[in-house]
Assembly symmetry: C2
Homo-oligomer: 401 residues x 2
């Protein structure tokens, strides 16, 4: 597998563009269109929040046939809690884009991110769609990645190439964070494109499993969004023999590449969490099973106290163990070892005397690693988060107004 440039437009046949449509701010890209020259096999996963955006209902309906060809996305407005008007607006956006692209409305997915509870400025969205469609380009990934940013500081894109039976298959993706991040079955907007030839059910299964170990393992603030969505389009232009058997080597090669792409983007989202100074990686090993490991790893990454301690570079491992303890997973505290980077802080549930200076150094790294060994089984999982800083509070004390 090879990491390449080009993001979401790296796979063959994909064009994209992100433009400034003044959805919330002037001179900021906020509407984007992603388009495949051919109809695609497609799959998506969505937030489990019972309060969800109108656009997700549209996607769910449009993906019933496992097919799509374009995605329209705007930032600056979530089109959530907007009632029938919001649903009508999402549908109209799809219909309008389909007209311009000369494809079926059913083949257009619609996504939104931004403030909740404000009606979409539909005229401006449609104006942006028109502008984006008229300037679609195979170099459009960067502008598109920028157009989906809200409080994100950096754009998040990636692409990789694999070989499947002599054919080069490319996977590209973009994603955005950066607050209201505690995904549950999906995340805050990730779009993945590939020219792989792959059957719809396989694609769906691969996306679900990949999201489970990537976006669903990050947390910025334990707030699960109303608009989370990860979608993948596969247009088949790589002309590899169709992937339709989950026991085949090709399936596994593609899975590894897709997992790499999604995990890389998930880590970028966590690192760019609102106000974050550190990417925090929590590796739980030796758990009774994988579920227990996941639950504990997520609980630690979501703990405000642990996050504030990391912000302060304070080796307060007791908070890590406490967060494991209230996670809901069952384990024997008297067997737990905890490491901060290379420094062992806790053995068999008790504190070791450790070198404060070395521990502080581990916490000053941009990427902080916490390892929790439960010594009770084979379950393991990795989760990612960030520290809790003054800036997180600042950003969210005045995000709306």
């Amino acid at each position: 597998m090879k990491v390449i440039e080009g993001g979401i437009t790296a796979p063959q046949g994909f064009l994209a563009q992100g433009v400034c449509a003044e959805i919330k701010y002037k001179n900021r890209r906020d509407v984007a269109v992603i388009y495949s020259a051919l109809p695609c096999t497609a799959a998506a996963v969505y937030t489990t929040n019972v309060v969800h955006a109108a656009c997700l209902d549209v996607c769910r309906s449009h993906l019933e046939n496992g097919r799509a060809q374009a995605i329209v996305v705007n930032s600056g407005n979530a089109n959530a809690c907007t009632g029938k008007q919001g649903l009508d607006d999402a549908i109209e956006t799809a219909v309008y884009a389909a007209g311009l692209l000369n494809i079926e409305p059913q083949d257009v997915l619609v996504a939104s991110t931004g403030v909740i509870g404000v009606q979409l400025p539909l005229e401006r969205v449609l104006c942006g769609v028109k502008q984006a469609v008229s300037t679609l380009t195979p170099e459009g990934s960067g502008n598109t990645a920028m157009a989906i940013m809200t409080t994100d500081l950096v754009k998040k894109e990636i692409a990789v190439q694999i070989e499947l039976q002599g054919r080069t298959v490319t996977i590209g993706a973009i994603a955005k964070g950066s607050g209201m991040i505690h995904p549950n079955m999906a995340t805050m907007l990730a779009f993945i494109t590939t020219d792989a030839n792959i059957e719809a059910e396989c694609l769906n299964k691969l996306l679900k499993s990949s999201v489970g170990i990537s976006y669903n393992m990050i947390s910025v603030d334990r707030d699960t969004s109303t608009n989370d969505m990860a979608a993948i389009l596969a247009n088949g232009l790589a002309a590899n023999p169709v992937i339709d058997d989950e026991h085949s080597p090709d399936y596994k090669t593609f899975k590894a590449a897709l997992d790499y792409v999604n995990t890389a983007l998930a880590k970028k989202i966590a690192r760019d969490g609102e106000g974050a100074n550190h990417l925090v990686e929590v590796q739980v090993v030796g758990a009774a099973d994988q579920n227990a490991a996941r639950t504990i790893a997520r609980s630690i990454t979501a703990s405000n106290l642990t996050k504030a301690a990391i912000f302060g570079h304070d080796a307060n491992w007791g908070r890590i163990l406490a967060a494991a303890g209230y996670s809901g997973a069952v384990f024997d505290p008297s067997r737990v070892d905890i490491y901060l980077g290379r420094e062992k802080m806790c053995q068999n549930g008790m504190g070791l005397s450790f070198d404060e200076e070395k521990a502080r150094k581990e916490l000053e790294r941009e990427n902080v690693t916490i390892i929790v060994d439960l010594k009770s089984g084979d379950g393991q999982a990795t989760a990612w988060g960030c520290d809790l800083s003054y800036d997180y509070v600042k950003i969210n004390a005045d995000y709306r107004t």
Copy 2:
């Protein structure tokens, strides 16, 4: 029912004292003893964190017979994650106090709060116990309430009197917060005394139900502590006819008073949450059932995004609805109304145009009230929390060191 002065030593026969023992800081009260002249009917509830302090194991064992006569408590050190040494220290503390008080070790409860994972400075604890026992006083509630404070800014005590068949019965209580507060079946240290004559099983039942609507409905940071504990001692000196029937009027009168005491302390803990500027009360009404109402109310009080918006006086009701949505409770978003104080922000799941200035005024109050009406049933619940401020981050970035 009448609210009176005197806190935990207001009921007849209770003495207490809190002294400076240098557990973590100099010149700060940090060891306390609460003592009843007569053996008491007693009950306690504890944290559900699987990682819990040694002292809780001692309490559990000592309360097997439903009886106790004294409580020893220290702040500055949680005696959690301290292994066999921690357990031995907790037992030795009980034995030592029992010797001084001339009672059975079995009748002494032990509680700790403070940093996790550091061995208890046992000599200093015992020295403090000796000092406290030698100066026990019926005016000792204030010093005791101070001795259990950690990052708390204000001491928390209350007492009430009720009449039961011509006898005056008093209930007194103290509690502490103020971080790692998201109790689950108990809270971060609350001690309740009463001179009521009450049967052990009734007392246990009353405490559990009262904790369910008071301490278990507050959150400061969604971190459930390792040391949470609420305990009640009843010495019978009020000489009321024994309360032993949960259908009796006396039971109900006592229950109302106990609920009042615990709810008042729970609100004090939330208001004094680390870095808090506001007490936030979330009233959920019209839920399918009480459980759904509780789940939603707690989810909103625990949402970092909602808390940061309140800190910024930003009427960002979409975050409130989103937090309800990911709570795990099922409801129909299109029926939800949301009020900030007297201002209606959202009707049938959609934003109303509202007066920004009036909404801001509601958020500038010291006590902020949020009402969420699901219009789907009779379930209701109230939860309390606080805003998320720079000071919360500051306090927890350098709490340990």
